[in-house]
Subunit: 307 residues, 2 copies
C-alpha cells in the first residue's frame, strides 16, 4: 500500500487516526494473561499468546472505525522469539483485515545492515528456493540520525509507491528538545531532519499530493506541526502523543491541510488501555477501546474536517 | 558485567577488539546454508540454524583471542521468530564462554517503551510467577536522538555497575555528516550528543576510571576520536568501522589513553567473512576468521599498546 491508500482509508472512515497496538503487562487486561498462563504455564509463550489475543480482538473491533494501526515492535521483542512470532501474526491479521499497517521499530543502521532491514520489512527474504515476508507492513518508523545511508535501501520500495517511511523528525517526548531542538545555523536540528526527509523523498509523491517518505512529529508540539505543515506542503505527518502523552485535538489540527489531509494522529494507551480508567476488571476492554477510538474520532473532528 | 570487566578482559588478552557477529547470506558460507536446508527444507528456520552454527563455531574459535563480541540484532530479526530464537541462544552461549557481549540494536524510543526495552535487555520479564531474561547481554547500542527520556530507564542498571550503554555519537558511515556534523552554536551535533552521554553517565565511573555509559564513535573519523578522547577522559568508546568500512589501526589509536585503555575497536565482515577473500569455498571460514582476528590484534598493536 502507499500513502495514497492511507489517505483514501482516512477519507473513507473520516477518521485521521491510527491506533497503536502496544501490548504489555500494563495494557493487557489480567484475565487474558491469566487464561494464557492457565493454558501455557508461567512462560513467555503465555504472555505472547495473551498479547496476540488482545491485539486480534482489538483489530476485529476497530474495523470500519479506524483506518490504520501501528504495531509497537518493542512490546513483542521484549518476550523474545515467542513475542516476535505473535507480532508476525498480528501484522498479517492487520493487513488481512484491510488496515494500513505501520511497524514501529525506530531503528537506524549503517548501509549494509539497513539493507537487510529493508529487505525483511519491505521485500522478500530468500531461503534456498523459497521466499518469505517475515513482517507484513506498509510502513515503518526509522531514526535518521545516521543520515542518508541508513535510509537509502528503503527508498526503492517507496519510489514504487508500495511502501512508506515515517522518519523521526520531532518526537513527542519531553526531552526531544535535547538533541532535536539544538539550534544549527538558522535551523533547529529537527528542521534540518525535516529538510533531509524532504530531500530523501524528492519526486516520490503520490496522487494525493503527499510524499511516500513521511515524517514523525509529536502531537505535543502544536507550533512545530504548524510550522512544518506550511513549510512542507507535500510532507505527510504521523503524529504520535495524542492522549496519554498530552497531545490534544486542537494542538494537532495544524498538522492537516485545509482538506483535513496530510496527517494521521496516533494514540496507543489512551485507546487500547481505556479499560484501566473504568471501575471494571478489564473484561470489557474491547468495548472501552471502541468507545475511546470513537471519542478520539469525534474529538479530532471538532478541529479537523476530513473531506 | 561492567565496563571494568570489559577493560580487564581487554587487558588480559592484550586485544582491544570486539568481533561483530553479523550473519547473513553474504557472510555465512554456502555449505552451512545448504546443510541446514537439507535438514529443515527451504525455510527461515534453516537460515536461522545456519546462522546459529556459524556464530557458535566462531565463538568457540575466538576464545582466548578476542575479549568481546557484538551481536547484530538486525541480522537475526530479518528471519522473524526463528532468527530471534537463534540470537537468544547465541547471546547465551557468548556469555557462557566468558565474552563481554554487546547487543547491537540501535534503538531509541519514548520513556514507557524504552522502559520495556531496558527490562527485556537488562532486567527480568515477569510471566506469572516466573521471570525470564530473553536477551543475555552486558551492553546495548542505543540511538540518543530522542534525548534523556529514552536513556533514563537503562541507567539504573548502569549505575549498579552491571550493564553498559553504547550511545551513538558519531557513526562510521559516510552520511553520518548529514545530521551528526551540523554546527550548533560552538558545537557539532555529535559533540552535543557526547556532552549528553557524559551527563547521562555522570557519577557512574568504574574502578578503571571509565564510565558505564559509553559512546559509539566511528573508526573512519580519526580526528573526532582524538578530539573526544582529550575532551572526555572518562568516556569509553566503542569504535566500529575498522576493516570493511575503511577504519585503520593508525586512525583508531587516538581513541585510547596512554595505557591503551578506554576503547574497543569492532570489526564484523572483515573478520567473520574473511573466507570470502580467499580462493576457498568457505569451508575453512573458522581458520580464516581466526587468522583475520589475530591479524587485527597485531595491526592494532602497532599503534596501541594495552598495558
Amino acid at each position: 500500500m502507499s500513502i495514497d491508500v492511507l489517505q483514501e482509508k482516512i477519507r473513507k472512515t473520516k477518521n485521521p487516526s491510527m491506533v497503536g497496538l502496544d501490548p504489555s503487562l500494563e495494557t493487557v487486561p489480567p484475565h487474558l494473561i491469566q487464561a494464557a498462563i492457565a493454558k501455557n504455564g508461567h512462560t513467555l509463550e503465555a504472555l505472547a499468546e495473551a498479547y496476540e489475543t488482545f491485539c486480534a480482538q482489538l483489530l476485529r473491533a476497530f474495523k470500519g472505525i479506524v483506518p490504520a494501526v501501528k504495531v509497537q515492535s518493542a512490546c513483542f521483542d521484549a518476550l523474545g522469539a515467542p513475542g516476535v512470532a505473535a507480532m508476525q501474526r498480528v501484522l498479517q491479521q492487520a493487513q488481512k483485515l484491510g488496515y494500513y499497517v505501520v511497524l514501529d521499530s525506530m531503528r537506524g543502521d549503517v548501509g549494509v545492515i539497513a539493507a537487510l532491514c529493508a529487505q525483511s520489512l519491505f521485500g522478500q527474504v530468500q531461503a534456498g528456493e523459497e521466499t518469505f515476508q517475515p513482517y507484513a507492513c506498509d510502513g515503518v518508523t526509522l531514526n535518521g540520525y545516521l543520515g542518508g545511508d541508513s535510509i537509502a535501501p528503503f527508498l526503492p520500495y517507496c519510489e514504487k509507491g508500495k511502501k512508506n517511511l515515517f522518519i523521526l523528525v520531532k518526537t513527542s517526548n519531553r526531552t526531544s528538545t535535547e538533541v532535536q531542538d539544538l539550534l544549527s545555523g538558522g535551523r533547529l536540528v529537527h528542521t534540518a531532519m525535516a529538510d533531509l526527509v524532504n530531500r530523501w523523498g524528492a519526486g516520490m509523491h503520490g496522487k494525493c499530493g503527499y510524499c511516500q517518505v513521511a515524517a514523525v512529529v509529536g502531537a505535543t508540539y502544536p507550533n512545530i506541526l504548524k510550522t512544518l505543515r506550511s513549510k512542507y506542503p507535500g510532507m505527510f505527518f504521523l503524529v504520535p502523543g495524542y492522549g496519554a502523552q498530552g497531545g490534544t485535538a486542537k494542538g494537532v489540527a495544524g498538522a492537516f491541510d485545509r482538506f483535513g489531509h496530510g496527517a494521521v494522529v496516533s494514540a496507543s494507551r489512551s485507546i487500547i488501555a481505556a479499560w484501566k480508567k473504568t471501575e471494571t476488571d478489564g473484561r470489557d476492554y474491547v468495548e472501552q477501546a471502541i468507545a475511546a477510538a470513537e471519542k478520539m474520532k469525534k474529538d479530532l473532528a471538532k478541529y479537523t474536517t476530513v473531506m
